[in-house]
Structures are given as C-alpha cells and as structure tokens.
Symmetry: C2
Amino acid sequence: MHYNRHFKPPETGSTPSSNLTCCSTQAMSPSSTRVVDIHTHMYPPSYIRILESRSTIPLVQKFAQTSDPRLILLEAEVKSLDEALQNPEANPPGRPLTSHYASLAQKMHFMDTHSIDISVISLANPWLDFLEPAESGAIAKSVNQEFSSMCDQHLGRLFFFGTLPLTATLDTVLAAVQHLQTLKHCRGIILGTSGLGKGLDDPDLLPIFEALAKSKLPIFLHPHYGLPNEVWGPRASAEYGHVLPLALGFPMETTVAVTRMYLAGVFDKVPDLRVILAHSGGTLPFLAGRIESCIMHDGQLVREGKASQGRRTVWEVLKEQVYLDAVAYSEVGLKAAIQASGADRLMFGTDHPFFPPLTSDEQGEWESVSLNAKAVAQAVGKDTEDHKAIMGGNAIRILRLDDKA
Amino acid sequence: MHYNRHFKPPETGSTPSSNLTCCSTQAMSPSSTRVVDIHTHMYPPSYIRILESRSTIPLVQKFAQTSDPRLILLEAEVKSLDEALQNPEANPPGRPLTSHYASLAQKMHFMDTHSIDISVISLANPWLDFLEPAESGAIAKSVNQEFSSMCDQHLGRLFFFGTLPLTATLDTVLAAVQHLQTLKHCRGIILGTSGLGKGLDDPDLLPIFEALAKSKLPIFLHPHYGLPNEVWGPRASAEYGHVLPLALGFPMETTVAVTRMYLAGVFDKVPDLRVILAHSGGTLPFLAGRIESCIMHDGQLVREGKASQGRRTVWEVLKEQVYLDAVAYSEVGLKAAIQASGADRLMFGTDHPFFPPLTSDEQGEWESVSLNAKAVAQAVGKDTEDHKAIMGGNAIRILRLDDKA
C-alpha cells in the first residue's frame, strides 16, 4: 500500500518517552500526569481507497511532478488541482499522503514520541459527507467498526469518535447512533458543519441530537468547508498557500456553525447535548461578548422576545454544554478559551496527522504539537492542577477514558 | 429634516456628567481621567441626502409600515428590503434613521451623557465605496470639510478620521490625502476592507499606504461587507435578525482583511504605516497563534522562503504597527486583545450611533457603551494606570489629541 511506504518502524516501545507534560524530572503518579490527545485523526485504508476512486474533491490524486500521491480536500485547492493536472511544471495542491494518515503503527509511534498516553482518534474531514445516500449507511458501519478494531488492538490507549452517515435517511443515521452504542471504545461522534446539507441549525437534525444526548455521545464539532473562496481575494490561491482557508476559514466556520445552533435554540431544546468545539471554539470565546450584545441590540429579536433575560446566554452555554479542545497555538487564545469555558472544560489535542514538520524529520517531535503543549504551560503554569487537567485529566473524566468496559 | 426630528435638546451642558471612568468619587486631575471615544460615527446631512437618492444599498428608504425612514446598509438586508416593499405587513429591514446619525448636537449630548471628553468622529460605513468615480473626489473633499467644520464648533472635544475617494483615480486619492493634511483636526482615515475593489492586499494600494504613513495618518480599519450571505444558512434572514452578519461577519471580515495585508507584506513594505483595527482586531488576537502556525506549516510558503524565521511575525505587527479599539463587549475578548497588543495600544470606543438601547430611552445611557466600559474595568482594574490609558490616555498620546494647532 503506497500510503504506508514512508513508515519507519518506531524506535521506541509503546511507553511514552518524551516530555509533553513538562514534568519528566519529577516523580508523579501515572494517573495524575497522563496525557490525552482528543483531536487526532486517521483515514483508515478502506477510506483511502474510496478517495482514490474519486475524480472530484475529496480525492487522492497522483501527479507526474511528485513521488507521493496527494490528498486534496479543500474547495480552495480545486483551482490549483486543475492547473497541476494540465501543467507538469505547476506545484500540485493538497498534502503528501504519507503513512501518518492511514497507519495505526505510525499513530502509536507518534503518540510515543510525544508522550501521549491515550488518543481519542476520529475520521478526518470531510468524513462521509460526500457519499451517495444509498452507500453511506454501510460505509459508516464499516468505518466505525474499523475504528473500534484499532482501539481493540491497543486497549486503554485508544478510544474513538464515530462517524454518522448524514447523507442517508434519518432511520439510517439513528441506526448508526445505536450501532455506536454497542462499540465499547466509542466516546462520541465527530461532526462537520454541514449536517444534513443545511447547517447545524436545521430542525431535521433535532432527533439525531436527541439520540446522541440520550446515548451520552458528545459531538466533536470540526470544520471542513471553510468560507467561500471569494473571501480570500484574487491573490490568495497563488501567493498565500493554505494559510487563509486553514488559519481563518476553519475556525470561522466552526464559530458560525455553533452560533447558528445557539440561535436556533438547539442547546435549550436538547439540554443534555454536549459539544466539543475544535480549535478552542474557533473564535467563539473571543466573540461571545459581541454575540451577546448583538442579540440584546437586535430589533427583531427584541420584538419577538428572543433577546430577553430569561434566555440562556452564550456564556452559560460555553460553561455548561460546550467543551473546547486546547488547539489554539497560543497562550493568548488559550487563556481566552479557559476564561470563557473554564480550565475544567479544555482538552489537549494535536490535530495529527495534519501540520507535520516541514524542515525536520516527521518521525521526530512535531512543532505543531509542542506549540500547543507550550501554550497550555504558559496559560496555566507548568506544575499546576489545571495543567494536568487540560493535558489529560479533563478528557479522562469527561470522556470516561478509565472505563474500558 | 426628518432625520433630526427625534432630537431632544440635551439637558446637560457640555461638561461630562456621568460615570464611564468609574472614578467619580475620587479627586483626580482632569488630564488623567479624560475619556476618549475613537470609534464613533456620523452621517452628515449631505451624505444622508445621497443615501435618500439611491435605490440600491446603501440607501435610506421610507416604508408604509413605519414612521421612521430606514437606513439599509448590508447585503444581508436586501432580501427583506424587497419583501417589505412588496408586503406592507412585513417588517422592514435596517435601522430607524434617528437624529443620532446626523445631528452634531445629538453627538455632543451622547458624549455628555456618557462622560466622553473627546470623540474622534468618522463617517460610518460604507463611506464613499459606492460612488461613481467621477463624483467621488469632490464628495470626499466636501465630506471631509464638513467633518472638519464640526470639529471647529467644539474645539478640543472633537477630532476626526477622514475618508478617501477610493473609486476615483490614484491621483484623486492622493490629492485627498494631501487635503486631509491641511485639515488641522484630522487624525487619520477610516478605511473599509474593499480598498480599490480587490481588498487591502492589492499592490495598487501601496502608494496610498505610503502617502498615509508619510503624513502620519493612521488607518482606522473598519468592516462593512461581512461575509457572503450563504455562510449564514437558509434560516438566518428570517429568524436571527442582524446577529450573524454583525456579530460574526463584521469581525471576521476585519480579520481576513488585515491577514491578507500581512501576507502580502504590506506591514514590511510600509514600515511607518499604523492601523487601528475596529472591534479589538475582529478576531486577530485570538487567531494570531493559528495564523503563525499555519504559515510555519505551509508547504508553499516554506518552499518559497516566506515562512522563515527572519519574517516579522503577526505578534510583532500586533505590538508595533497595529492598535486596537476596546470594542469587544467582554472581559475575555479585551484581555486577549491587551495580551496580544499591549495595554498601551488599546483605545476605548462606543460605536455610536449603532446599537442604541431598544428597551430604554435612547437619550439616556446606552448599554452597548457601558458593556465596553465595564469590560475595560474588569480586564485591567478600575483605578489602574492601564484603565486610564485605555479609556483615554492612549488615544490622546497616539492620536495627538492635546495638539489643537
């Protein structure tokens, strides 16, 4: 399998060896210093084969100009895909499809290299959003089963967020939720912002949200679609690489999606629903105050009684129904996230296998990981209870990771 | 003039009477407690007449169903404009055009009510972005002159940000910059994100940025266009009022615009350029870490040498060339802004005449103002040097407001 050919066998065993917790010189009980990565993706081999069979995004494409096949996911990459297919001099879009995307051994090596004790793995975007309705139910079942089997191979070190066949009928989706309840390592579902095609404020999603709440399966809300290309302007695709759609489009998409859920009353209608927001909430912690003010000052919402004091505020939702990953890449962002949701609601993540190092060995330590670990240490202090909580304790409690049954 | 008919004569004199500085019980020298509002708009009467003559946004429109004419500015309002014109039962879009938009006496009353000593007034969005090229030069000159005359009437209490005729020829725009240098109360320019129509990363803007830098006229970068309507989904226009385009679209637009400037190297190419970002930077303080990481991990930028260490980082630009207003409506947002740029670079603002109170007298105190004042007090403490700096001292120093000559 070509997507495995870069994998070098891990040189370490399966005992974490590195220094993410910043506490290696101290004697600590294993339970207090466990590091959990809740934002870590895989494309299992069967999913890669689906991508290889496609001619529109998402797809895996070979190019004359590069040895690696390329994984092409984003709308912003389509223009350069066409150019690269027509012109063998042009740089192909996307990212090289290395073993980091599909190899479980590689995932374990990554965990060991970065002292990660437990990972809650999830299918990467765009999940099953693009599948034909007739096939998506069966593929979801098979993919979820595949994730479950991976967890079986590393009992106690791997859990997973399942995936729903959202292009199928409601009954098929609800059956998938039931199936996930039978998979003992499943700890929630990963969900994009498209929902059934009309966004997460779509009332047709309510039965699905209710089923998830009843099953105590939190949603890991993750971006994929970004913002329309026109927002980036005429120079972006040629000159700025992926920076605008990834750095801005992704977190803004998440923020829009969760704010639409909020305005549609989803959090009130399904009070037991729990949502983990990727990338520390997108930009929600920073914008929550402005959202609240805009609601209070909106003529229509005031007229309709929707802006009134009895309403549960965005701040309350952030502290009661939302969790945030700690993938903000800065102390500034992380402190805002902590102040908005509480240090007991943030959970460390890596976003592996995305953002590999480009100027050092990708079998070694990843700067994208250490940036986030450093931000946690800066935001709450290295040897604090909050540090242990964010690096692992919160995830163990919230996602019941000590419960292997 | 109908847009003045709501104005009640101020009951106070022109001495600030209220309590925004939170220090009214203490004896303090006037210089140390002056409050400055750098984010406060007007549509002078001549500009209102232009809006009244138009049939597409921006426009002022009368409706059978409301006594007030309505000010309709946003793309997101167009759909309900058409509905309201066809159906006299439908609620008209936009906002009532009250005296707060065009009356200088009303502006002074607002300042007195909120203990604002000095305001740096600016034309509100969408400025002159929609004018025919042939007319925009003369209209810019007249509007800037009108703002200058308003400042003359309240010497020392009013300064202004000028407006450029960006749809005209480069020579006309540069002549406008020269004209602003002759207007002694001008302290910068207000600028939207469209620039010459292709965004602020357009190289054709560089001579204008250079002229502004040479004239020591900072840019007050302000949103107007938001994000494409499709981002808000099918329910937004009927159910969520203006919340999504204003609460999310505006700050996201600012963030995209300044990030495009950064990626185009504008801050390096014009090192003396200074940019004041509206709404505490949109979301830039929260996302700066992610932007940095995405640059460092972008294959194309690394290959082209644009991601290298020698580059001035987003953090450095935030601390050296960017200022932020303090219009974030929350302690969380404001603390992130302060940590990103420094307490010596934030400047209080109100966004008057937008966000008037809807359930209390709009001649009294505005909650949208007190929310921001409270956020400053929460973020830095009530009686601190940082508090005085953000509420007024920074603006006086940065915008030379003690220099009346």
